[in-house]
């Protein structure tokens, strides 16, 4: 199962780390950050080995707060 900290490589050879995930309307959404370019961020859904970027404004507005909500703070316990 995909989780925070996993690194995925896309067919364009770009590598992204999963910064957060959430389930919304039974779909897995991921927030990806390019490990070499912090401005390159993607909000998308993953099904099997396919990444689809979110295009809908409505979905974006609904999902982004859930994504932020789910940021994994546990790695910072015990001083990190």
């Amino acid at each position: 199962m995909l989780e925070f900290g996993d690194v995925i490589t896309l067919e364009n050879n770009k590598k992204y780390i999963i910064a957060s995930t959430c389930i919304y309307k039974e779909q897995l959404y991921v927030y990806l950050v390019n490990i070499n370019n912090y401005e390159d961020c993607i909000l998308g859904t993953i099904q099997k080995d396919d990444l689809s970027i979110v295009q809908s404004e409505e979905t974006f507005i609904e999902v982004m707060p859930l994504i932020l909500d789910n940021v994994d703070m546990s790695i910072f316990e015990n001083g990190g």
Partner: protein, 271 residues
């Protein structure tokens, strides 16, 4: 787009990638905040006074430690995000974040902030922790950890404000998803009460600078309920002095209700 590989990382390896996550955390929080508060509004152009007010009201408790970088990165992030939405959104996002940069720059560079004893104290404490970690040799550097915690804290706080879980008085609405408080208290958990007060004082200092500069523009000034925050954090951590605070507070309330406590006039001179 096809995913060609997935690398699973353990906790230690994940920390290597924390910098992009921190910075995107800040950008994410700011973006969500601006969307939820209607500043990023794709149907109507928002006037710049409203944008200024909104940006000024975003709490940035870690300005001295975090710096401008997250705001600059936010510009790129918001541009990419609002590309799905429209030209107006891009123009507005650019304007608002350029404004945020303009507002923050003189504050960060001012002598008042650099020489402020509270800000210096925070830096001293941070530096002390850095040296300790260097001696330990087993942990990541503290400025990095502080950046991480600060970035996520800012993003979390912006989100909490935008979703009305905390209001402008920083009063926590615990009945709404109470575990969210831990997002903030986790950031503060290393900080003892004295340091917490220093942090809160510095927050007030920075807010005061922004207030002075934009006094005429601010429609809604965030009020900081410092004592309430300290008491809540004390309660969460069950510090030994909380019961003293509480009994003192009860005594004062009791005396007041009986008319036995007389307020000292503001112009009274000390003996």
């Amino acid at each position: 787009m096809k995913i060609t590989s997935i690398d699973k990382n353990n906790s230690k390896e994940k920390m290597k990638y924390i910098a992009p996550i921190v910075q995107s955390g800040v950008a994410l929080g700011l973006t969500v905040y601006l969307i939820r508060t209607g500043v990023l509004n794709y149907n109507n152009l928002v006037n710049m006074d409203q944008v200024k007010n909104m940006v000024n009201s975003i709490p940035m408790p870690n300005f001295p430690l975090i710096g401008k970088a997250p705001i600059e990165l936010s510009v790129g992030l918001v541009e990419k995000i609002v590309n799905t939405i429209g030209i107006q959104g891009i123009m507005l996002a650019n304007k608002s974040f350029n404004l945020a940069k303009d507002i923050s720059k003189p504050i960060l560079e001012s002598d008042q902030v650099k020489n402020n004893p509270v800000v210096c104290k925070i830096k001293e404490i941070t530096k002390g922790k850095q040296n300790k970690d260097k001696e330990d040799g087993s942990k990541l550097s503290s400025p990095f950890l502080n950046l991480i915690r600060g970035g996520l804290s800012i993003g979390a706080k912006a989100y909490l404000m935008a979703t009305n879980q905390i209001d402008y008085n920083l009063t926590y609405h615990l009945e709404k998803l109470p575990h969210k408080l831990h997002v903030i208290s986790d950031f503060l958990k290393d900080v003892d009460l004295n340091k917490l007060k220093i942090g809160m004082d510095s927050l007030k200092t920075i807010k005061d600078f922004a207030t002075e500069r934009k006094k005429e523009d601010i429609v809604k000034t965030p009020k900081m309920n410092f004592e309430g925050i300290i008491k809540k954090i004390s309660r969460e951590r069950v510090l030994p002095n909380y019961s003293e605070l509480k009994s003192t507070e009860n005594a004062i309330t009791n005396y007041r209700s009986k008319g036995q406590l007389h307020e000292i006039p503001a112009n009274a001179k000390e003996r």
